[in-house]
């Protein structure tokens, strides 16, 4: 088994999909839908958004035609792979009453083997961040773990970056270095259209072996490297992460939180599109007889009032406190909790915020106008500025 890079021609790409299907994977990847590039089931490479790209800005997402037929010539859409690993809604168990007793039956653990086709580097980091929450912490979410272990990850390296991207700042891209089964780089050049392919695991190598491909030459390798290099030059946003953990903790009463609260609609879009946000709630539904009940786990958001409900009121009643919770969790508490930032710099929360609130801008404002020098502050005051 060789780990040398291979070249798969565009017209041989379907063979890779066929092999994945033969190996028992259900392929999901980018498709056109809902006015955006979204993740869904893929049968053949014709389902990929050939010739389309996305244009993004704070509060703006637009599909546009490309001059070429690139399959992966876009950045990222509103979906992330978490919808397959940590689904928006999942039944946890069903319960049946008999007399004063009852029986609870857990939902079978998901056994679908997904092949995620077209994973970006930032997204792979986001998956690894959720792994820390659901697999590597004190308790294990067995359903997540099974989905994760069953998954086959095909990275497609970024050949361009969007105006809301800042993975370079977050050290999460644009090049995926490890953690994948296969990594492809799409290259269109002088009428040629091919994929530079590297296996990142024995599983990936075994699949790659079954696909018609030739060995990559050193100029192919250089071209692949240049492609991601280009993306890294195009970051639309930057975020200075130096000391950001302390910066946010120590500026919990900064007046900037009031300003952002004036604009924030508490709509929770940012948390829904974020590939690392993992919060959930549970809902019990019971039939009319009261004998049959089900518990569902559903994505939840720290922007809702119910989220922090405690005897008769919410702990975070103001929008200010909810936005602060969200941003402080992402960029600061996450580091205490899981040893890494909770943000991978994908830019989704900026693009999909209806009013274009930009976390990089919020951090910059707080940094440039700190209440007090870092680490010299004793205790946060209670008064709002």
């Amino acid at each position: 088994m060789t780990n040398e890079p291979r070249i798969i021609e565009r017209n041989a790409l379907n063979r890779l999909l066929e092999v994945l299907v033969q190996e028992g994977y259900q392929i999901v990847g980018p498709t056109l839908g809902e006015g955006a590039i979204v993740y869904g089931p893929v049968q053949s490479s014709e389902d990929f958004p050939a010739g389309w790209t996305d244009e993004q800005e704070g509060g703006v997402y637009r599909l546009k035609k490309r001059a070429d037929k690139a399959l992966f010539g876009y950045v990222v859409g509103p979906h992330s792979w978490k919808k397959y690993l940590h689904p928006p809604e999942r039944r946890l168990w069903t319960g049946q009453a008999n007399g004063t007793d009852f029986e609870l039956t857990p939902e079978p653990i998901e056994s679908t083997r997904f092949a995620f086709f077209g994973v970006r580097s930032c997204e792979l980091h986001a998956i690894e961040i959720q792994d820390r929450v659901f697999i590597h912490d004190d308790h294990v979410d067995e359903d997540y773990k099974a989905r994760r272990e069953n998954a086959f990850v095909v990275v497609v390296q970024c050949g361009q970056a969007g105006k809301t991207c800042f993975c370079v700042s977050m050290n999460t891209g644009p090049k995926a270095e490890s953690g994948y089964d296969l990594a492809l780089t799409e290259i269109l050049d002088e009428g040629r259209h091919f994929f530079h392919a590297v296996a990142g695991s024995p599983k990936g190598a075994a699949i790659l072996q079954q696909v018609e491909a030739r060995a990559a030459t050193s100029s192919d390798n250089a071209e692949a490297e240049e492609t991601v290099q280009k993306a890294s030059q195009q970051m639309g946003r930057t975020l200075d992460t130096a000391g950001v953990k302390e910066l946010l903790q120590e500026n919990a009463e900064h007046p900037r939180w009031d300003l952002v609260a004036d604009r924030c609609l508490s709509c929770a879009n940012c948390t829904m599109v974020c590939p690392t946000c993992f919060c959930s709630t549970v809902e019990d539904t019971t039939d009319l007889t009261g004998d049959h009940t089900e518990r569902w786990q559903k994505w939840d958001s720290c922007f809702t009032m119910d989220f922090s409900y405690l005897h008769g009121g919410s702990v975070r009643a103001s929008t200010k406190s909810r936005y602060r919770q969200w941003l402080t969790h992402k960029l600061s508490s996450w580091i205490d909790q899981f040893g890494s930032s909770g943000c991978v710099g994908c830019g989704r929360c900026v693009t999909w915020c209806p009013v274009g609130i930009d976390l990089t801008e919020e951090v910059r404002s707080i940094r440039e106008d700190k209440l007090v020098p870092l680490s010299s502050k004793k205790e946060a005051s209670n008064g709002n500025a």
């Binding site: 946890l92 004063t100 993992f278 959930s280 549970v282 019971t286 939840d300 405690l310």
Partner: protein, 280 residues
């Protein structure tokens, strides 16, 4: 918590209500054994369980002790809403769902050889009670033991017989106060913090455990610090909305901590800075 980890951590197990003890108008204690009557596992005083009322929902409730007769866990609950109301309707012999025990407990070993001050507000006496049971079982290993307890009214005071036992038989300085009372009440009226100065302990060798509403705990900490107990000898039990108790749902976050696994019992100096921020 090994056993919890191996199975589906979100699936409640059936427990039987061995007995229901009425405590006050709105507060009751469920005595819970395995469905077959077996005594449940060890727990650390201060830990909690997620109790599930069939078809209604699940809430965090601290373990308030172990029954001497059945060996069952005691869970003392105040009815305040939907799930606690359903739990209040549970009858002897009934079955409920349970996950746990979860969280950190009171570091009683740290108090050994020292004085201990317990401060409780309202239902907050319940999570402290199992720690008092430990003290009671090896009373000679502790110096002065103080229990300061405040409730809304004389009628809402919990565990009277035990408080009397601790006072009379175990040399615990028990002081009680209420917010409001009729003329027949001959004891203290006022906030629990006012009781501190009427007790004796050596602040240089004292560990304090506090449980009650958040405001009560803030004032209690301030008062204890005033009396000379250092911040790193004060422990408090925090409360937040909880949907999972295992670190998945995110609801219980308090600053960078998850109350369900890093707490509910925290050393005060470790969370002081977050307590100072409103709506955190």
């Amino acid at each position: 918590m090994e056993s919890v980890q191996r199975q589906n951590v979100m699936l409640p197990s059936p427990y039987r209500v061995h007995r229901v003890h009425r405590e006050t108008e709105d507060t009751f204690t469920l005595e819970l054994t395995g469905k077959d009557g077996a005594a449940p596992s060890e727990f650390i005083p201060g830990q909690f369980n997620m109790l599930y009322a069939f078809g209604i929902g699940e809430v965090p409730i601290s373990i308030s002790g172990r029954s001497e007769s059945s060996g069952g866990w005691l869970q003392t609950i105040r009815e305040v809403g939907t799930v606690t109301r359903a739990l209040h309707r549970m009858k002897r012999g009934g079955v409920l769902g349970l996950r746990g025990p979860f969280g950190t407990g009171w570091p009683i070993e740290e108090a050994q050889g020292n004085d201990i001050v317990f401060m409780a507000g309202g239902i907050g006496l319940a999570p402290l009670r199992p720690a008092l049971h430990v003290v009671q079982s090896k009373r000679d290993q502790f110096g002065e033991v103080v229990l300061l307890y405040g409730a809304r009214t004389p009628e809402s005071l919990l565990f009277e017989k035990e408080r009397e036992l601790w006072r009379a038989k175990f040399g615990v300085q028990v002081k009680v106060t209420v917010d409001a009372a009729g003329r027949e009440w001959k004891r203290n009226v006022g906030v629990v913090t006012s009781l501190v100065e009427r007790t004796s302990f050596d602040p240089d060798h004292t560990v304090a455990f506090i449980c009650g509403p958040e405001v009560m705990m803030r004032f209690s900490v301030a008062e204890l610090k005033q009396s000379g107990i250092p911040e790193d000898k004060i422990y408090i039990s925090m409360e937040r909305n909880m949907k999972c108790a295992v670190g998945f749902c995110g609801h219980c976050q308090f600053g960078p901590t998850f109350i369900c696994k890093d707490g509910p019992v925290f050393r005060y100096d470790r969370i002081r800075r977050f307590l100072a921020v409103r709506e955190i």
